[in-house]
């Protein structure tokens, strides 16, 4: 059982999964001939190589004592991912976000810093607020004033 959880076995499975995904989504691509290759020739070739390598890696892992995959700690990866996604949604308001939600650099910065800080093991609200203020000033100076990027600091205001 433990061998099914080894790093090597699981990465073999991952490679097979990528190969199968490529085959499925590339199924309509023309193969062409070896002289005049179609758009699907190289993708199919790579997908089969992925399947073969993934197979070899996972089978070999079943016969050797490999390193066990450490259980992931969910909090940091979840918080960081949520933070980035919310940043993307708030930075440039998308159609499904109600209009009264403030958008722009400052709101998305506050949300990202807050959520990312929750991902760490120590959280002090005063420190997080201090961090937000420093980063806001820094970002406005570097990106808005310095590099003259076309971003809004607070939508509708600046």
């Amino acid at each position: 059982m433990s061998r099914l959880l080894s790093k090597d076995f699981l990465s073999g499975v991952m490679f097979i999964a990528f190969g199968l995904t490529a085959l499925w989504f590339g199924r309509h691509l023309q193969m062409g001939t070896t002289v005049r290759m179609g758009p699907g020739y190289v993708p199919h070739m790579l997908a089969y190589i992925m399947l073969a390598l993934g197979g070899v890696i996972s089978v070999m892992a079943l016969f050797t004592q490999g390193e066990r995959t450490e259980a992931p700690q969910w909090r940091p990866i979840t918080m960081v991912t949520i933070g980035i996604v919310l940043f993307a949604v708030l930075f440039e308001p998308m159609s499904f976000v109600p209009a009264f939600v403030p958008a722009g650099l400052i709101p998305s910065l506050i949300v990202l810093v807050l959520i990312a800080s929750l991902g760490g093991d120590e959280f002090k609200i005063t420190e997080v607020i201090f961090n937000m203020v420093v980063l806001s000033i820094l970002c406005i100076i570097v990106f808005k004033v310095g590099l003259q990027m076309n971003i809004s600091v607070l939508r509708g205001v600046w």
Binding site: K7, D8, L10, M14, F15, F18, A22, G26, L29, T34, V35, M37, G38, P39, G40, Y41, V42, P43, L46, A47, I49, M50, L53, G54, I57, M60, E67, T69, P72, Q73, P76, I77, V80, T81, G83, I84, V85, F87, A88, F91, E92, L105, S108, L109, L112, V113, A116, S117, G119, G120, D121, E122, F123, E127, L135, C139, F143, L147, M149, I151
Partner: protein, 500 residues
């Protein structure tokens, strides 16, 4: 004579106010991230890629190069003073550097490492100048089949020298090649793996992938571990004694030679150079027992080697367009963002960029010695900033950088997605570097492969009939066979054990 002319041209470009400024910015940023553990040159360059889009090409490349070799300098400072390697390439420096510092020779260790690095950087730059032209001339004779084989050799060699399982690394290369296919097929205009998302029809942008795989995944892994920090040692006199200088010099020269050689190899680079130089010094020394207890040679040789390797790893990228490690893959990405196709044409078509960048490396090395030695106190203070302040800041710069690529939030979402993928790679022990090399070389390799097959009317034997291609493929095969030999496999595993 030509050489002198090229160098004059190069220095003319490198010494303009604008380029000096960006070299300085690059060196400062490089030193900063070199000092800070938990963020390396790969993640930083990935984050800054979008910003370079707003700069002129020469300035952009000069700045990115500065970050790379600046990190080698910065990494050694923290290794010596707090026994904390800022970069993978300065892990060995901890062994003797920190011991020297505890013996009260911190200043001497720092100046030996800075001056040794400067010497190595100078030699490395000279080597690039001398070899760039002949290599480029050779590369211009290459046909599509030869290029395809050269890329295969580059990818295989990168895998062999990367740490961990060879088979998994090869699979990662192919996965990178597969991701490189996303977008519109150049020859037929067909949409491949675009899932009807218009943003994907130009291909997956290189920068969000690199940011996700290296930046985000690295931050998450660092958030999982708690970092403990020990107090820094005070620096007294910077000058080495006459005895220390006498022992350091030959070690610096040997380290430079070994580092320059290993830097050129695909998959080589600073880390490998530093480890090999340390091992060599220990073998050559008449007093191997003092290694690990503050041997001057144990600081001088690896520091020289990692800097020399950082310089010479530019050679395959600049002349052939083949990146030898993850940082060089990012440099190729930066050139593509600027609309420059890396390869032998860069030198002939853009001589000011080519020679300007090389000259700026020497200028940058000089700047680093000057900004490093007097400012050591300030850099060490930065270490006291806790990671919980840095992590959100790094994330924020990643997001803004990704957005500014094309002013679209879609790229920010891509960063989030590849962050998750990168985290999965880390957990499963799959190296990100081979993936990145595959991704960068993929589109070109397919192009050359299809062109070669078209020219040969579908006969795959073309790869064996052309002498250059055949030679390169034989070299590739030899590398693969060598890897399978039990004795070499064992030595390789031991080498990486020492590293980890």
């Amino acid at each position: 004579m030509d050489l002198l002319h090229n160098l004059t041209l190069g220095f003319g470009v490198a010494l303009t106010f604008q380029n000096l400024f960006y070299a300085l910015v690059g060196c400062m940023v490089g030193t900063l991230i070199g000092v800070l553990p938990g963020i390396g040159p790969v993640a930083t360059i990935a984050m800054l890629l979008p910003i370079t889009f707003h700069l002129p090409p020469t300035a952009a490349l000069i700045m990115l190069a500065g970050i790379y070799y600046g990190a080698q300098y910065g990494g050694s400072t923290t290794s010596i003073l707090v026994n904390l390697p800022g970069e993978a390439s300065s892990v060995v420096t901890c062994l003797d550097g920190y011991q020297m510092a505890r013996n009260g020779r911190a200043g001497a260790a720092l100046s030996i490492s800075a001056l040794g690095s400067f010497f190595a950087g100078t030699v490395g730059t000279l080597i690039i100048v001398v070899f760039a032209e002949p290599l480029t001339r050779m590369a211009q004779k290459f046909g599509p089949a030869d290029y395809c084989s050269l890329m295969a050799l580059g990818l295989v060699a990168a895998v062999v020298l990367a740490s961990g399982s060879v088979l998994k690394a090869i699979a990662m290369v192919f996965l990178g090649l597969l991701f490189g296919l996303v977008g519109t097929d150049v020859n037929t205009g067909a949409q491949r793996f675009t899932f009807d998302i218009p943003e994907l029809s130009d291909g997956i942008d290189f920068a969000p992938i690199a940011m996700g795989l290296f930046g985000i995944a690295e931050i998450v892994v660092n958030l999982e571990r708690r970092m403990s920090r020990s107090g820094a040692i005070k620096v007294t006199s910077l000058w080495p004694t006459r005895e220390e200088a006498r022992r350091a010099w030959p070690a610096v020269v040997r380290g430079t030679a070994l580092g320059s050689l290993l830097g050129v190899l695909p998959g080589g680079g600073p880390t490998l150079g530093a480890f090999s130089a340390y091992t060599l010094e220990k073998k050559l020394s008449k007093t191997p027992e003092i290694f690990g207890k503050g041997a001057v040679e144990g600081v001088a040789a690896p520091e020289a080697a990692n800097n020399a390797a950082a310089q010479t790893s530019f050679i395959p990228m600049l002349t052939l367009g083949i990146p030898s490690n993850a940082v060089m893959a990012l440099m190729v990405g930066a050139m593509i963002i600027q609309g420059i196709q890396p390869g032998p044409e860069v030198m002939t078509k853009k001589p000011d960029l080519f020679w300007g960048m090389i000259a700026s490396m020497w200028v940058g090395n000089l700047m680093l010695v000057i900004i490093n030695l007097p400012m050591i106190g300030m850099w060490v203070k930065l270490l006291t900033v806790p990671y919980r302040f840095l992590a959100p800041a790094i994330l924020l710069f990643c997001c803004i950088g990704a957005y500014s690529l094309q002013n679209s939030s879609f790229h920010v979402l891509q960063v989030a997605m590849f962050g998750v993928v990168g985290y999965m790679f880390v957990r499963l022990g799959c190296e990100g570097a081979p993936f990145l090399l595959g991704l960068v070389l993929g589109p070109q390799m397919e192009e050359y492969f299809r062109r070669a097959m078209l020219l040969s009317r579908g006969d795959p034997m073309v790869f064996l009939q052309r002498p250059i291609s055949l030679g390169l493929l034989i070299a590739t095969a030899i590398l693969l066979v060598l890897m399978a030999l039990p004795s070499i496999k064992k030595a390789r595993e031991e080498a990486f054990q020492e590293e980890g």
